[in-house]
């Protein structure tokens, strides 16, 4: 039988531990999969904002028509509210882990409410800019501001839906252990969107 040469690669070794999925034990696999799914979603969002950032940097460096945008003051309030909402969600999660459900309900609802207020604050910021005659096509800096806040706002809306869902489940006493993953995934997504906002504020402040 013709063989190529004498050294041969061994067939693949059996796994040293039950790493290969470990058996489909239902809830375990489902929680892990949800976490992976979240990470994947965050990777995609990161790429989209990376693309926007590179467009931002290129456009700013290219032409001399970039006029720095006067950031509406309310954005600082919005930022504070968003960070606070993340903190409240974390406190809520700790409470849930210790079984203090009433506390969880209180903190989670407060966090969700602050998140909704953030969105309102963003809308307010847009109105302020409009009133000052700054629209999306006024200047490249304003184009990017509206673009980035709108894209971010869409993600806030998505995250808020998840927070509201969990809140409704909690308040109607339907938040069983099977929904623990939903709580954790929503909170983690929210922290990401929060961090994304801090990044965008830094971008506007330093480069805008």
């Amino acid at each position: 039988m013709p063989s190529l040469t004498s050294d041969v690669i061994k067939p693949p070794a059996p796994p040293s531990r039950g790493f290969g999925g470990g058996g489909s034990d239902g809830r375990g696999a489902s929680r892990r999969a949800s976490m992976t799914g979240l990470m994947v979603l965050l990777a995609a969002t990161t790429m989209a904002f990376a693309a926007f950032t590179s467009a931002f940097v290129v456009r700013r460096g290219m032409s001399n028509d970039w006029v720095a945008l006067p950031l509406p003051r309310i954005l600082w309030v919005d930022t504070a509210m968003l960070v606070a909402s993340s903190v409240l969600l974390e406190v809520a999660r700790r409470s849930l882990k210790s079984g203090r459900r009433t506390e969880f309900n209180r903190y989670w609802t407060a966090g969700t409410a602050l998140g909704a207020l953030f969105l309102l604050g963003q809308a307010f910021a847009w109105r302020q800019l409009n009133a000052a005659g700054i629209f999306v096509a006024s200047n490249p800096s304003s184009s990017f501001f509206y673009l980035l806040t709108a894209a971010h706002g869409l993600h806030i809306l998505g995250g808020l839906s998840a927070l509201v869902y969990v809140d409704v489940q909690a308040l109607s006493l339907r938040l069983g252990p099977g929904k623990r993953t939903a709580v954790d995934v929503s909170a983690m997504f929210w922290h990401f969107v929060d961090g994304l906002w801090v990044y965008l504020m830094a971008l506007f402040l330093v480069w805008g």
Binding site: M1, S3, L4, T5, D7, V8, I9
Partner: protein, 261 residues
């Protein structure tokens, strides 16, 4: 099995047409073109050998190892072979690109020749226009608001600028043979592309950018310029010509154009 001779016949037919050069480059008219053809040949020989051997090997294994009651040999591979052919491929491919680097650098990274004849190219949907600076050697100012294609002012040359009064605008490119040329390219609407096959050169013309292209044409003749970047419905008709003529004739042509203004 029938596939083996089919693969072999296709391979031979394809190789034939490359060797016979049935449809081929037009002859080069510059040093760059000659260097280009040499690099192309190198690449063609290397890839041609790989192509022939790979398709031949495929046909061979199809033929030799067809199921005629044999047993297959049980093997998961061979690390040594993997290393050898991976390294060979890497060296070959990277070697080829490094050899071409000199040609690329000569076109785009060499010191611009200060004595290069400056000619402006303005591309629009769907025509090329060329401008020569005239005896004062200066291009006059232009303004988009002054553009008037019908009146022969596609660039919008400003009459109030004395430097522009002697500028020559032509629908075709005329260059002196054997002299370095600097083609300064603009577009006034969408992306176009300047391509002359005999020069072995092309370059996208991007609105908002001023892109210089340096070349030297040595062989007199008239060569077609097909737009080579999709620019709209008239893309297939966007044509001009480059006429390479002896330097004396080029000077005469310029004087004639100046006298006619």
């Amino acid at each position: 099995m029938l596939l083996a001779p089919v693969v072999w016949i296709l391979t031979v037919v394809i190789c034939y047409f490359f060797i016979a050069q049935t449809w081929w480059f037009p002859p080069p008219i510059s040093q760059h073109g000659i260097a280009y053809d040499a690099q192309f040949m190198r690449t063609l020989v290397v890839t041609g050998i790989i192509f022939f051997l790979a398709q031949f090997a495929l046909g061979w294994v199809i033929f030799r190892f067809r199921d005629d009651g044999r047993r297959a040999s049980y093997s998961h591979g061979n690390n040594r072979l993997e290393t050898i052919w991976t390294s060979a491929t890497a060296i070959l491919f990277v070697g080829l690109v490094l050899m071409g680097t000199r040609i690329w650098a000569a076109v785009h990274l060499s010191e611009p020749d200060p004595a290069a004849v400056p000619i402006e190219l303005m591309a629009k949907q769907f025509a090329f226009s060329f401008r020569y600076p005239g005896p004062d050697g200066k291009f006059g100012a232009t303004d988009l608001k002054l553009v008037n294609d019908a009146a022969g002012n596609p660039l919008g040359i400003d009459d109030n600028d004395p430097a522009g009064k002697d500028d020559i605008v032509s629908a075709s490119l005329k260059v002196p043979a054997g002299k370095p040329i600097k083609l300064i390219m603009h577009s006034r609407d969408v992306i176009h592309n300047f391509f002359v096959r005999e020069l072995r050169l092309k370059q996208d013309i991007v609105p908002g950018m001023e892109i210089p292209l340096y070349f030297q044409a040595d062989t007199p003749g008239t060569y077609e310029i097909p737009c080579s970047e999709l620019c709209g419905l008239g893309h297939f008709q966007m044509r001009s010509t480059m006429e390479v003529m002896p330097e004396a004739d080029f000077e005469k042509w310029k004087q004639e154009q100046a006298a006619n203004k």
